[in-house]
Each structure stands twice: as C-alpha cells, then as structure tokens.
Symmetry: C2
Subunit: 431 residues, 2 copies
C-alpha cells in the first residue's frame, strides 16, 4: 500500500537547513496538493543545538545524536546538509541507505567521490538517493537530464558551475579591481565563504562536472585524467587584455565524448565576448547541453544560496513522495557504462599567453624560437600594450596547438631569465 505520510529528518541546520525547514513548514499543504502525501518534519539535528537560529524548533524534534536519523524506524527520508566528502556526512548517508531510508543531499564532494558506490547501494535497498541541490541549486539540471531529456544522446555538457568564481571574474571585469580586492569584497557580501579554496581552485566545479557527465553519458563517475585549474592566477591585466581582444575570461567546466572517450576539464577560458556564456555574470550558473534529438539546450539560474538550494531540495523530496525514478543516475548500476577517460595533452587549443619580460633586444626572437620549436604558431602578437616602467608585456594569441606543447613552452619560457613574472596562459574556447 502506498504510504500517505512521510517523516523526514533534517540533519545540518546552517543557512540552508533553516531555510529548508521554514519552507517545508510553510508549504506543507502545497506539497500535499501536489503529491497527495503529508510531509512531516519529524526530527532535526545540528552540531550546535543551542546556536541562535531564526526559527523556533520544538524540543521534541531534536535528535540526541545525528546518526539516529539513519536508525529510527519513524524516519522515511534523511536530508543530509552536513557537508564534507567523508566523516559524519558519509556515515549518515551510507547508514541511512542501508537502513532503507531515502536520502536527499546537497553534498557535491560526497556524491562525486562516493556516488558510484552509493548509487548501487540505493538501488539494492530500493530507496532514492537524490542530489539536485549538489549541482547548481537554482538550475534543476539533474532532473532535466534524467527526465526532461531522457533518451537523448548527449555529446557535450559544459557551463559555469561555480558562482563564487563567476562572481569574482565578473566583478574584476566590471570594476577593474584586482583578484584579492574583489575576493575580500565577495567575502564581506557573502558571495565567497571564509575559506573559499575549493571554489577558487576549481575543485568544486570539478565535483559538479563529474556528476553531470556521469548523468549525461550514462557512465560511472570518472575521476581520472581531469584537468583542473582555478582562477587564482588571473590578473586584472589579463581581464583587460581579453576585453581589448574581443574576449572574456570565464571559468568553465566541460565534459565531452571524443573518440569514444571521456574528456573532463575545468579551467579558465577565453571566450568570444558576444557568446551567450560570456554574458552569464555574477553568481549565475549556466549549463549547456548538446544532444540528439534535442539540439543545443541551455539552462541558467542562481547557482547557490539558501533560496535556490531549498528549491532543489524540495523538488527532490517531492520526487520521492511521488515515488519517481529510483535509479540515482538514470539507469541501473548494471547499465552504467565504463567510459575510458582521455586527458587533454593531445588536444589542440588556441591560446592566450602573456609574458612580462625585461625590455631588451633579442627577447622576442628568443620567445618565438621556443614557440616555433614546440610547433606553436603565432596568430597575433602585441608588444607593450600597457605602459610600464620596468618591463614590457608581450601578449601572444596562438593558433591551435597541442596542449602538451603549449604547457611545455610555458614551462620553458618561465625558466628564462628575461621572463620576470610567471607567464599567464589561458586556452581559447570556441563556444
């Protein structure tokens, strides 16, 4: 018999947990109208029970220990909002599923690390494992791939997946401030966490693209040979140069099938300033899918924050109430493919290279010699575009060249005495 009442436990009561709690209380009837099921927040748990929160939670809802959520018979769905790829979050989710409880999580690090194992376990125990909120909260991309685009053959999925990085790059472009100044402002405004490392170094976007590519290509989450570069090395001068050359710098996550192999990469890209994605600014996220029969499809919204994340969590919860899809990654474990991964060393990219050099004769010929040796041909070269007293700045736009050769040249150039700052190198992406 179909249940007509579901009890949930919300574990983790930070900004998102509290926002979700309030939304579920306010929308109880609304949810019942849509699912014919009464949703009851039976329990909550948080590291600090006595922290001041913007909502009154009745005493009888508090669990003594968070792990009770995975054990108590009167809990049907566990909402994990603890965070972290291991530790308590992992323990809670594994135990909950083993005890046949549905799980909803916003934890991208955990899903990208343990998703394959968890998915198999959820299938075995016939419960849902839902993680819409793990990737781009205000963009219901996971449900869209699983349901809206079902049976499409997807060839490429890419986009802007980290709101903090995108906010910083947008602000640098708007304000002419440098990276550090913008980052400090972002922290003050709540757009960057106090420790924003995984947002800035690309790790966060990496977890997300791994999850998306697994869904898009019906494959297991693939962790190998992923190029990951963050935005920490981007200077204001590069943003300005990009503009002068008709580009914008965006931090993209890209997954595609090439020669039947999976290429996953996360790095800053120079893209045409008139392209759709170069106009996605601030904390917005956007995902683009190229597939058949649907063609090119785009979805865009706020990437994070309590509101959008709550929206995603509720869509997951309602999906469970309605008894929707059980397979966490669209298809059964036995039907998920093992796709071999390909690193980008053999891939070809146009690129932007900036070299700050001592202003002496022979430098230019030395640079071009290194490039030529590595089979990199120059499409455009601008010397000294900005006045500087101490050095000259050389900007090179290369024709398409092998990634390994580009990397090798940069490293060779970095070792030259006349190169006085770390060379800058960004791939140009034609999208």
């Amino acid at each position: 018999m179909k249940k007509n009442k579901f009890n949930i436990a919300v574990v983790g009561l930070g900004n998102i947990g509290i926002n979700l709690y309030k939304h579920l209380i306010q929308n109880k009837q609304n949810i019942e109208k849509r699912t014919n099921i009464v949703l009851n927040i039976k329990y909550v748990s948080a590291r600090n029970k006595f922290k001041k929160r913007k909502v009154n939670i009745p005493k009888n809802k508090w669990l003594k220990n968070y792990l009770e959520a995975s054990k108590r018979k009167d809990i049907d769905i566990v909402i994990e909002l603890i965070g972290g790829s291991d530790g308590p979050a992992k323990k809670l989710i594994f135990n909950s599923i083993k005890n046949k409880k549905h799980v909803v999580t916003a934890n991208k690090a955990l899903i990208s690390k343990h998703g394959n194992e968890l998915s198999k376990l959820a299938e075995k125990n016939k419960v849902n494992l839902e993680f819409e909120a793990a990737v781009a909260g205000g963009v219901p991309i996971i449900r869209t791939i699983k349901e809206g685009l079902t049976t499409n053959t997807i060839n490429k999925i890419y986009g802007i997946l980290n709101g903090t990085s995108n906010y910083i790059l947008s602000k640098m472009s708007e304000t002419k401030l440098n990276f550090k100044e913008v980052l400090e402002n972002a922290k003050k405004l709540g757009y960057a966490e106090s420790n924003p490392k995984s947002d800035l170094n690309g790790d966060d976007a990496k977890s997300k693209i791994q999850i998306l590519s697994s869904l898009a290509f019906n494959s297991f989450i693939n962790k190998s040979k992923i190029t990951v570069e963050g935005i920490q090395g981007i200077d204001q001068v590069d943003i300005t140069n990009a503009k002068l050359l008709g580009y914008k710098i965006k931090h993209l996550a890209i997954a595609e099938i090439k020669k039947n192999k999976l290429v996953q990469r996360v790095h800053p890209c120079m893209i045409n300033e008139n392209s759709y994605i170069s106009n996605i600014n601030g904390v917005l996220n956007a995902v683009i899918i190229e597939g058949k029969p649907i063609g090119k499809f785009t979805i865009q919204g706020e990437g994070a924050g309590p509101g959008p994340t709550t929206s995603a969590l509720v869509s997951d919860i309602c999906s469970i109430l309605r008894g929707n899809i059980k397979f966490p990654f669209s298809v059964s474990d036995k039907n998920r493919k093992k796709i071999r991964s390909l690193d980008i060393s053999e891939d070809f990219f146009s690129s932007y290279i900036r070299l700050d050099v001592t202003d002496k004769t022979g430098v230019l010929s030395s640079i071009t010699k290194i490039l030529s040796k590595n089979k990199i041909s120059v499409k455009r070269l601008v010397q000294n575009p900005f006045k500087s007293k101490k050095f000259a700045s050389i900007i090179i736009i290369s024709h398409k060249a092998k990634n390994s050769n580009l990397v090798k040249s940069i490293s060779e150039l970095a070792n030259k005495k006349f190169v006085i700052n770390k060379p800058k190198f960004f791939r140009i992406e034609e999208i």
Copy 2:
C-alpha cells in the same frame, strides 16, 4: 500489479510522427533501461496511408480508422499528432481519456482551448495527459515547472515562444531585408509553414503562454482579456530605428500576477539590446521564470522541429511509463485556482511611436498636442532620422503612460491627414 509492457498508438505521421516513430524503435532498449518497461509501437494511423514516408511501417500496425486508437483494449497510450484545436484531434483525445488511455499530445491549440476540461477528465479516469511538446519542444519547461520548480511561488513567466516570429525578426535585423522577403525565405527554408498565420499574428504564442501561466500560477487556463499582437506590422525601418536607439524588437509572451490578478499579453516589445533575451536569435525559444525561493531562472532551446519535439514527446512517454505525476496541471482540479484576469488598459508602458508625416509646419505641434492631451510625455523625439523625399519620419520615445491613453493617441494620430502611413507603436519592456 505494475505493468511491464506498454502499447502505444501514434496517430498522425507527418515529420514529427515519423521522427518519433524512428526514435522509439531505435531507443526501445534505452527506454527499458530507464523505466523497466518495454515500449511497443502497436499501431499507427495517418490521413494518407499511402504517402511516401522515410520509414517502413509493417502493414499490421495500421489502424483502419484513427478513432480505433481510443477504443482498442490493446492500447495503453495514445500519441495525438493530428493538430487543430477541434475536429479529429479533439475527438481522439476525449475518447481516449474516457476509455482510460494515457494521452500524449503536441497540440497547443487544443490544450489551451480544452485543457481545463481534459485535465479534469484525465484525473477522473486516472490517466496521464501530457503535453510537454505543446510548448517549446526543445525546452522541457512544463516538466521543469511541475517537478524541478515544485512549490516555488512564481510571480512572472515570460519569453520567446514562437520560433517562426523570432526567426523572422532576427533575420530582418541581420539582413536589412523587409518582412515579406524574410518570410518568403523562411518558408523556403522550412522555418515558416506555408500558412504561417497563427505564428505571425501571435495566436500560437498566446496558446503557449496560457498553458504556461496556468502551470506557473496553479490556475485554470484563462482565456479572457489577453492582448495579442503579431509581428506582421513591423517594418525594416523600425528594426533599424530600434538599433539606433539601443533596442531590439522581440516578440514576447508575458504572464504575471499583478494586484492578485492575472495579466497575459503577447506582443512585439522593444527591449534593451544588451538584455539576455534580446540575444535569443533564430528559431530559439526561451522562457524566464521569476519565483521564490528559486530567484530568476532561464531555460532556452530550439522551439520546434522534429528533433526537439520528439525529445519532448519521449520525455512525456517515459514519464507515463514510470507512473509519474497524474495531475496534468501539477495539482488536482479542485485545487486549481480561478484567478481573475486584468487587461493591460490601465498598465503603464514606455513606448516607441513612429509617425510618417507630410513635411509641413505645424505638424509637430499638432502631434505633441495630441500626446499631451492624453497625458503622454515625450522622453525623446527624433525627426527625419532617415532621408526621404516624400515625407518626414518622426520617432517618439515616450515616458511611461497608461496603455489606454497610448492606444487612444495612436488612433487619433492615425486619423490625422498629415499622418500618411499607419502609425507604428511598440511597447518598451524593461527586462
């Protein structure tokens, strides 16, 4: 017991029907993997059985009469691809639902006209009525509202919903050709139907926004007080003027809640050339939703054509196979709201007005007098921006003024002897 095999009948075998047929044959296993159900195309029907088609359909699949699809016991799902808001399509869908068959349709005219009644009937008979393909094929917007954004409170939904109109406006902007020339090209290229009336006069977009607003606001489809204007009156000179003034002309469909009432309107708009939506070109469709808690959300893709429409139809079919949501409009008939509608006569708009006038003294003062009488104040006025031998062209950008006053002024101006062509009037939309 849950069925493990579903038989479907595809009624209507035009480009879309054939594309769907092929896709379902090719993806039979793929669908089974996702739903655990075997999907079998048991029957087909078309007006002309002997028309040459790009696929071989076994003789035993042909129904003698299309209405058999609604009667035969060995059919679970009827796919209606006949078209038209009444006649055979209506007969087929009503009968199918009465006989407890699930229905999938791409028919926006029919759903916008009979959706309220059909939805109630489907609920009573406990079958699905799915129509993702009726609105923006390559944009899974209906499933997104029903599932991805469930329990969001949506305040406004709008976008570009007619690919043909958008294609024509984009091409006029690109090529400087006039409306008729671009339309003829569009017909040749298959982007406009041989009779494109409902695409050009706004009726098609009207049906779509009615369906979307009903889903977004949990209300019955509301047919009254909708302003509908098409793109037939847009001249190349208006497109050019728009550009000079920093705008683009786009044909938008807009639904929003104002003072607890529903405002629905479909008309050409002047919008900022840097806005997101002004860069949606060609046959693309885009839908923007403003809601809580999600914020501003955007989804974009190809609006029509066999590929995107097939993608939408298959997502509907799979949704039925999985036993997903039964309520065609998210909530039960008894929970759908009756929202009173509000026409736009009392709404305020900035506007663009173009008057072609005889080049005589006193004309300008006569124009400004009429505007002033109707409480329309001029923000910008450009006289004679283009050289013409016979007349002067006056372009007025007005401050916000009441729609009824704008319409009245235009009509008064049209009657003046010195106005030699029909005045052009477009609302400026701040989005």
